[in-house]
């Protein structure tokens, strides 16, 4: 049996890119950092806060997200939403995710045969 450490690194590697996909999908509905973190967690994407917050800013700098300050509530919060460019990139990423899934399925079936 492999060590938990090895398993953990492989799972981490596998999950790394999916956080971006999950964030872009989730931010089709505008949201702020912590609320997004909770939504992702509720859907099985356990992301660390210190990973997600810098990621949101990076995606914004890349033009995949737009942001707006909401000052209506108790404290001002920065709301992110996916931009047109972000939607385009997301489309490509989702296609690729599907392609990976398909390939893996085919491979499994091929091996089983």
């Amino acid at each position: 049996m492999v060590s938990d450490e090895v398993l953990r690194t492989h799972l981490q590697e596998l999950r790394r890119g999916t956080v971006v996909v999950a964030s872009l999908v989730a931010l089709r509905r505008p949201d702020y950092g912590y609320a997004l973190l909770q939504r992702l967690a509720a859907h099985g994407f356990a992301v660390d806060a210190n990973t997600l917050y810098p990621l949101l800013r990076r995606l914004e700098e890349q033009g995949l997200l737009t942001s707006e300050w909401n000052t209506e509530e108790s404290r001002p919060r920065k709301f992110y939403r996916v931009s047109a460019d972000g939607e385009a990139v997301l489309g490509r990423l989702l296609d690729d995710l599907t392609a990976v899934q398909t390939s893996v399925t085919q491979l499994i079936e091929g091996v089983g045969r």
Binding site: Y32, G33, Y34, A35, Q38, D48, A49, N50, T51, Y53, P54, R57, R58, R75, P76, R77, K78
Partner: protein, 314 residues
């Protein structure tokens, strides 16, 4: 009193470019407050919740690095191999050569042969430390500035040659270079370190008058020979142009030496005066033997290189 959150935000911002601080501070503060609120509504004490949240956020410097996309290593995968490839030879040959020269200077000019080895070791180590420090600093700066070096991509042509068909081995070349450096060191050194006589007076072995032209000229020839050794090592074998250069350099060294010997201008006349056996014909014998040895060595070296070049081309 400043709260832990204030201190945390300040610590994070310190490592983030100034232009982005204000907005980032507000967002970070709001995020942390949201996280704390979430815990206090669950019935947790505010101070404990704050502590927990900030612990979860982790080292502020690391967070700042993530925000500003900064690397947390000195030299990353982009430059590491190049750094290592440059550093390795520099840490072997250069300290060795500098150490040898320092030792020779200490033994000759400094007139302390006993302390020479110690000096050589200390100087070699200091040189190694200096090289490692400055080179690593340069690469760390490159890493931080993300400067593209535009280095050629790796290709199969860059695979190391099979050492079996190398005619010129690395240890041989290194030994030759060290020997040549040593010879240069001796030529320079003997002028300052002087032959000890019974009465304690000291004299250079070679005629000090040669300093005005001939000794520097010979040193230049020796330095050129070091260049030839390097070219030869890079070629991996003797080639005809290298043989030609080798013959030329041998001639440029041996001809003046023999001529100076035969015209009695090489040895220091004062030295000859000092020793009875040199005065009474010994100097002539020394001269004749030295001239023959010089010619034989030069001729042998040229013939040897020609034979090897012939073998390499067949």
């Amino acid at each position: 009193m400043t709260s832990l959150t204030d201190r945390y935000v300040a610590a994070t911002l310190r490592a983030v470019p100034a232009s982005r601080r204000t907005e980032l501070a507000e967002e970070l503060r709001a995020s942390i407050a949201d996280m704390i609120d979430d815990r206090t509504t669950g019935g947790q004490d505010h101070a404990a919740a704050e502590r927990e949240v900030l612990t979860e956020m982790g080292n502020p410097e690391q967070l700042a690095a993530r925000y500003s996309d900064r690397t947390l290593h000195l030299i990353g995968p982009r430059y590491f191999l190049l750094w290592w490839r440059v550093l390795r030879p520099l840490l072997t040959y250069v300290p060795a050569a500098v150490g040898v020269i320092a030792g020779l200077v200490k033994a000759t000019a400094g007139d302390a042969p006993g302390a020479a080895i110690g000096t050589a070791v200390v100087v070699a180590m200091q040189t190694a430390v200096q090289i490692a420090f400055w080179l690593t600093l340069c690469f760390a700066l490159l890493e931080r500035s993300q400067t593209p070096l535009g280095l050629p991509e790796w290709t199969v042509d860059r695979l190391p040659e099979d050492t079996h068909d190398r005619q010129i081995s690395q240890p041989d070349s290194v030994a030759s270079v060290v020997f040549l450096l040593g010879t240069i060191g001796v030529l320079v050194g003997q002028h300052f370190q002087h032959w000890t006589n019974d009465d304690g007076s000291r004299l250079p072995v070679l005629d000090p008058a040669l300093w005005s032209f001939w000794l520097p000229a010979l040193i230049v020839v020796l330095a050129a020979t070091i260049g030839l050794e390097i070219a030869k090592y890079r070629a991996g074998r003797w080639t005809w142009p290298l043989v030609a250069v080798n013959a030329l350099l041998n001639l440029a060294f041996a001809a003046p030496v023999v001529w100076l010997l035969l015209t009695d201008r090489l040895l220091n006349p004062e030295l000859i005066e000092r020793f009875a056996w040199l005065r009474e014909g010994g100097a002539d014998d020394v001269t004749r033997i030295a001239a023959v040895v010089t010619v034989v060595i030069a001729a042998w070296d040229v013939i040897d290189s020609a034979v090897k070049a012939r073998r390499a081309t067949h």
